[in-house]
């Protein structure tokens, strides 16, 4: 049985089903109707479910429960310091850390929060918050958001984070200090003579290869990149893709040469390329890409798949892949993308998909 947490513009959907059973997953629960759920995960260490919920009236917060069909409680501490004139807009990502009870949350406007008690209370990372360049940070189209948090397996000291549009930040001391990790990124949306020293770098997604943690893959705002030195420098790997623009990204945790993306046409036309819904995968670290589309809509299908709406289950050739679109459709694969099935149709516009 696979359980999916699908965050949508109209609440959280909990879907249960068997990959490859050729029948839609069941809607086991719907939580937070009328509210936007930006992201939801289950921390397998504690069994707690977390949902980032944004009320159109009452603002954003993270809720938690051990039963997603039951009562949810509020976490506390996700707020900016009084007097700084900032207020929390959205919680983009929640990720377990590499120490007992440690979790991270990435938010907009760009900031990192951490929790040491399993996600019940949160504290602002001051070192990133107090960066002297903060006043010049530029938002991407989705806001000034910290969306990618790449931990280092077994080492809570080492972190890489991605911010739209302030590039990659690296820490070797558990977030006590931060430095840029942007060498090699080419922001084509900035005049060439200004590209060299800009920090206006629109990272769309970033993931670490757990078995080779110095390797990271990135979907950029125009470009797909790989780093083999823990995010210090980046090399383009988009050749062979129909477009180098997009948002979602997954890596196979059992194969450090793997990455999966879902290209969109361009920043001016954020739909699947050529009217075909296709996942592209590499098993050679980006040297070549293979279209994985069997079972996906291929006829005049103009879907938008958002940043957090793509996830995996397991690893290798039997890895599950799941993604959702703003059309409300969710698709899945039980064989690492070789074939696809409709997990569920006509939900609300999908913001995020995570395997519980």
């Amino acid at each position: 049985m696979t359980e999916l947490l699908v965050g949508t513009k109209k609440g959280l959907f909990v879907l249960d089903g068997e990959p490859g059973a050729e029948k839609p997953f069941d809607v086991a629960a719907r939580a937070f109707p009328g509210n936007e759920v930006e992201f939801a995960i289950r921390d397998t260490r504690s069994g707690r479910y977390f949902a980032s919920v944004t009320s159109g009236h009452y603002g954003p917060r993270v809720m938690y429960t051990t039963d997603p069909g039951g009562e949810w409680e509020q976490t506390t501490g996700l707020a900016f310091p009084e007097g700084d004139d900032w207020s929390l807009e959205r919680i983009w990502s929640i990720r377990p850390g590499e120490a007992d009870g440690l979790l991270y949350a990435g938010v907009a406007p760009a900031a990192l929060f951490s929790s040491m008690d399993g996600g019940l209370t949160w504290e602002l990372n001051r070192a990133l918050w107090d960066q002297p360049t903060r006043s010049s940070w530029q938002p991407g189209a989705g806001g000034l958001c910290l969306h990618s948090i790449a931990t280092w397996p077994g080492d809570p000291q080492r972190l890489a984070i991605g911010i739209s549009a302030v590039g990659v930040w690296l820490s070797d001391d558990a977030g006590e200090s931060w430095r840029h990790g942007n060498a090699g990124l080419v922001p084509r949306y900035i005049p060439e003579d200004s590209q060299g020293d800009t920090i206006d770098l629109c990272v769309h997604n970033m993931h670490r290869a757990p078995l080779r943690p110095e390797r990271l893959f990135m979907q950029f705002h125009g470009g797909v990149y790989r780093s083999d030195d823990a995010g210090e420098t980046w090399n383009p790997i988009a050749e062979g893709l129909p477009s180098d623009f997009g948002f979602p990204m997954v890596v196979d945790p059992g194969d450090p040469d793997s990455a999966f993306v879902i290209p969109l046409v361009a920043d001016t036309d954020r739909v699947t390329t050529e009217g075909r819904v296709r996942v592209f995968g590499t098993r050679d670290a980006g040297t070549s890409w293979t279209s994985l589309s069997a079972g996906l809509p291929q006829d005049e299908a103009y879907l938008t798949i958002l940043r957090q709406a793509f996830d995996h289950e397991g690893e290798g050739q039997g890895m599950g892949l799941y993604f959702g679109a703003t059309s409300g459709d969710v698709f899945g694969s039980g064989d690492a993308g070789a074939s696809w099935f409709a997990v569920r149709e006509r939900l609300a516009p999908v913001n995020s998909v995570r395997v519980a």
């Binding site: 159109g56 603002g59 707020a79 207020s87």
Partner: protein
């Protein structure tokens, strides 16, 4: 004491109370005290800077006001979602 009138979901966060009497001489002060008495409501009406959220309306004796408006001892405050905030 001012009377604060709440509807769901704020009512539920305030222990199911539709009406709560609270001391305070400004809207911000009354709402902060509301948070103090009912911590679950913290962040829902006021943001972390003490401002009434953009899509929340606060009425004092029938007049829509912001956090710095004065509150008379016998005033009635209504805290309501605005029409504009439901578009998400």
């Amino acid at each position: 004491m001012a009377t604060v009138k709440l509807r769901a979901p704020l009512k539920d966060l305030a222990g199911g109370n539709r009406e709560i009497t609270i001391d305070g001489t400004s809207v911000g002060q009354v709402l902060r005290e509301l948070e103090h008495q009912h911590p679950k409501i913290t962040g829902w009406v006021l943001d972390e800077q003490g401002r009434v959220r953009r899509h929340v309306n606060v009425f004092v004796d029938g007049e829509r006001v912001k956090e710095d408006a004065p509150v008379e001892p016998d005033a009635t405050l209504h805290v309501l979602p605005s029409i504009s905030g439901g578009g998400r």
